[in-house]
Symmetry: C2
Subunit: 554 residues, 2 copies
């Protein structure tokens, strides 16, 4: 806390997570000192064609050369919170990182893959008080769908700012570690200026079910399954892996692991002591062929239907070591990320087609959300009693619903801020208000390009995806402008050329007709040709491929 | 019923609806006589790029020149049941159509738009017994999410074949017309050979809520709304429109209609006497500006976020007559069709951004499914007591779940058929079994082209959508093969060329390098050039645009 001075302005600068579920990132500034909470990525929507992922636009940080950034603090290891770490470390090489053991493990893997090194990665335990430059930050444990999650209480001259992280109040968490009610209540006693609360499930009534309901669902499936069991889940869902291991132990099954990221994460979590499964419970994937099917459970990646992950390979018969067989039981123990509904459905249908029994929500409660529902949100507000409230981590509809809950819980409407990325929230001794706007948009990552694919390129990809393109190459007489020989036609994504002889002939006729009329207007010949072909094609097919003409004078 | 003879084979040929939710179509044959039930379309998945819609592959019908098709019978007017009517009428011009009044209305509009005329459109009422060639077909009323829905009991020498249509057992339907329990029970007394049952919600436990729960939800919203109310729903959801009208009447609001299809359908349904709303309840959209906002409710199209429909125009400020304002309440009273989740979410968020209050499921129960859930499926099976069961209308996972329910309800497992489109189910005095396979795939409609866009074209569109393309046009010396002048580069969907000067320069260098090495190998020069450029681009950008080179010898 910067000299406990009330002369410096406090600024909260959300760079991600507001108006979207993904790429969380927020800057907390006190005068010229700052810390950052999280730096995540977001997965592209289906119509962001060719984009691999999206990172926050942190130009603001690069432009604020006067700002001393003392550290980046991570709440937990999910991609939407840590995914952009290598991009941020590359841009801000001197800044130390802070994370709990598992989160630090994920970060180190990412940095290694990007051939980068952070200034330092400071590992802390939930509950530790962190001194980050002039800031005193109190971490506290929260339940979510990955172990080692924290929220932060940041001390400022105007009161405590709480960043909830991703949380739920699971009354019976799998690892026994509950969300730290006591710390939250203590914050409230000391005076909370502002609560930044996770809004993901703000339109869901009630209380999110405990992870422990999954134990019962697993038990039922394990008891009935005649052959092999495969469980598809997120590679980072360590507690789910623990639940599978417990069920496997009860029913005398050994665990095999399929999928690189799953194997890596299990290894890391076991080394860190977060996942306590004895060695003898595991069996190599290559050895299960010689075991009775009823003695095996296989953990697999690809619960989102990602084409290159294990589950999708199994569904399409493209896995080197495994084949789905009659008698297999496959559990999809994961939430479908919005936008992936079609690929997940398709994967499930294909697994059925191969003779497997597939168990998924709503067939059985084999997954629960990791985020708080409305009653838990009310509880967080009531435990911490903030003077001001900033809903974070959600689409606008979730932020609005969360704001409404906060107002119902007694926070004055004028103290609740529904903001967008880049909208600065500033505080001083007179209170909290909305401030200036800084850039807060999307930065697309496509291949090794960061930010070089913008709206214009995506729009071209949309047009190409809809109707393809056609290139017409013609040779013309230099003097007369008359067509020489046959035009060459190259086309992709428009029609299947081999079955379109008649259309192609007509296009060639159109070319010759157009060239005959524009003879003399050499300058516009190319445009006229493209227009003429485009009009003909639209009349014939009601499609609008992109059309290019190339004219060679001979 | 063909002479009540037990010498003719009965064949059920599903051409659509099995393994998918959409494009329902089934052929029922007795010897050389046949009828068809429904002919629907399906909406393309997000990765079927550029496809407008999908129709069933009915090549089989065209190849069976010996088959006398006596009629096409429609269960109801939804697109996945009637959408392909013009394609079928064009292919089978002499075949009479049969439909209830509202369904016939929808069909006539489609035929008119396609400039086609059916041999005849025979209008019947639910409950009528239809004589269609040698077939005696007993229609019966079912509840769904559109009025005038029927199922069919088709008399055959081997017992009755029931086609359920889309149905639910709504205990309190809005129009008071319940599903015809008595007819179903009567069928069972006379002996049901086979039940073809709608599987859409086969993984949903319990009983689908009655449409009447929506009345309560609407009442709550109408009571609280301070300004205008807009209700977005399917243009065909006539009963929902009726519910809006009732709420409007209770709260003294007039109804305006925005959206051509919505206006057309309301007009038709009122003319047919299906929708009883007095004239004075309606007000022209152009007149609402002069009315108090609290006296207006506007029915709008576009509940799926379709970019050209009213709701999406309102969300993006592109509607000519209407603007969303602070104080507006917008109800999304429709189920999101799988694959549309992203566009619907985006629309909701944009409406919030414009200051509207948006009410959608799960915020309030403003929509219920039109399809039976598990308990209703059990009820249908128990009411009709079929000897054999064929789940229809669903993805494979739904057909499997429905089959499981049927077996639990007492139908022997060997009498339950999980089939795919094109798999013939045949029956004679010895019972029912799976028969031969006929074509049953997708036919893509793109623009005015039917079936000319296949997998190869879609694959090209995928590649173009991911990384775009580049065309490199070079002039070379005819004799030496050396590059003349500067290559011309045309590229779309790859990078934003104006910001890629350096890359373009390097590509030009690559062109010149490649040409220097392949000099002499004229035949492969083009391929070598494309390979060389492709390799360079991948190394630089990790992207793989399609690359074409055009070489002009001068």
């Amino acid at each position: 806390m910067a000299k406990n001075s009330k002369t410096q302005k406090l600024r909260i600068v959300p760079l991600g997570g507001l108006g979207e579920i993904g790429k969380n990132m927020a800057v907390i500034e006190l005068g010229n000192d700052a810390i950052i909470i999280d730096s995540g990525i977001m997965f592209p929507a289906n119509d962001m064609l060719g984009v691999d992922y999206i990172i926050p636009d942190f130009r603001y940080l690069l432009e604020r050369t006067d700002l001393k950034i003392h550290g980046i603090l991570y709440t937990h290891g999910h991609e939407d919170h840590v995914g952009a770490v290598s991009h941020v470390v590359e841009a801000l090489p001197g800044v130390p990182l802070w994370a709990t053991p598992l989160t630090a493990g994920f970060i180190q893997v990412k940095l290694k893959n990007a051939h980068l090194k952070a200034a330092s990665v400071n590992v802390f335990q939930a509950g530790d008080v962190l001194k980050v430059g002039p800031f005193t930050v109190e971490s506290y444990h929260v339940c979510h769908s990955i172990p080692d999650c924290v929220g932060f209480g940041i001390n400022t001259p105007y009161g405590i700012v709480i960043h909830s992280g991703d949380y739920k109040f699971d009354p019976a968490p799998v690892d026994g570690k509950k969300t730290d009610y006591a710390k939250l209540a203590e914050f409230s006693k000391r005076g909370v200026l502002l609560l930044m609360g996770d809004s993901t499930n703000a339109d869901q009534a009630g209380w999110t079910p405990s992870e422990s309901v999954i134990d019962e669902a697993f038990d039922k499936v394990f008891r009935a399954a005649p052959g092999r069991i495969m469980v598809a889940t997120f590679a980072s869902l360590i507690s789910r892996i623990h639940q599978v291991a417990k069920a496997a132990e009860r029913y005398g099954r050994k665990i095999a692991v399929a999928g690189h990221s799953m194997a890596e994460n299990i290894k890391m979590a076991r080394e860190l002591g977060i996942l306590n499964i004895p060695n003898e419970m595991f069996v190599d994937l290559n050895r299960i062929g010689s075991m009775p099917p009823s003695k095996v459970v296989i953990l697999v990646t690809g619960a989102q239907g990602e084409p290159s992950a294990v589950l999708s390979r199994l569904a399409t018969g493209r896995h080197r070591q495994l084949d789905v067989e009659e008698g297999d039981t496959i559990i999809i123990s994961a939430h479908t990320i919005p936008g992936n509904e079609e690929t997940v459905s398709r994967t499930i249908n294909r697994l059925f087609q191969r003779g497997a029994e597939v168990i998924y929500d709503p067939i059985a409660p084999v997954h629960v959300s990791g985020h708080a529902s409305q009653e838990e949100m009310r509880l967080l507000i009531n435990l911490t009693m903030p003077r001001y409230f900033l809903p974070v981590h959600g689409e606008l509809r979730h932020l609005k619903a969360h704001a409404k809950l906060a107002i119902q819980s007694g926070i004055p409407a004028e103290n609740v801020f529904v903001a967008e990325n880049g909208m600065v929230i500033e505080a001083d001794k007179n209170g909290v208000r909305k401030g200036e706007r800084v850039p807060g948009g999307y930065v697309f990552v496509d291949g090794s390009g960061v930010g070089d694919v913008g709206k214009a390129v995506i729009r071209d990809r949309e047009m190409l995806a809809r109707d393809g393109f056609m290139i017409v190459v013609v040779n013309v007489d230099k003097k007369s402008g008359e067509l020489l020989g046959n035009p060459e036609i190259i086309s992709k994504g428009f029609v299947y050329l081999r079955n379109a002889d008649e259309l192609i002939e007509q296009i060639k006729e159109t070319v010759s007709d157009v060239l005959a009329t524009v003879n003399g207007h050499n300058g516009k010949r190319r445009e006229k040709l493209q227009e003429g072909i485009g009009r003909f094609i639209y009349n014939e097919t009601k499609r609008r491929p992109m059309i290019f003409s190339i004219i060679n004078e001979k």
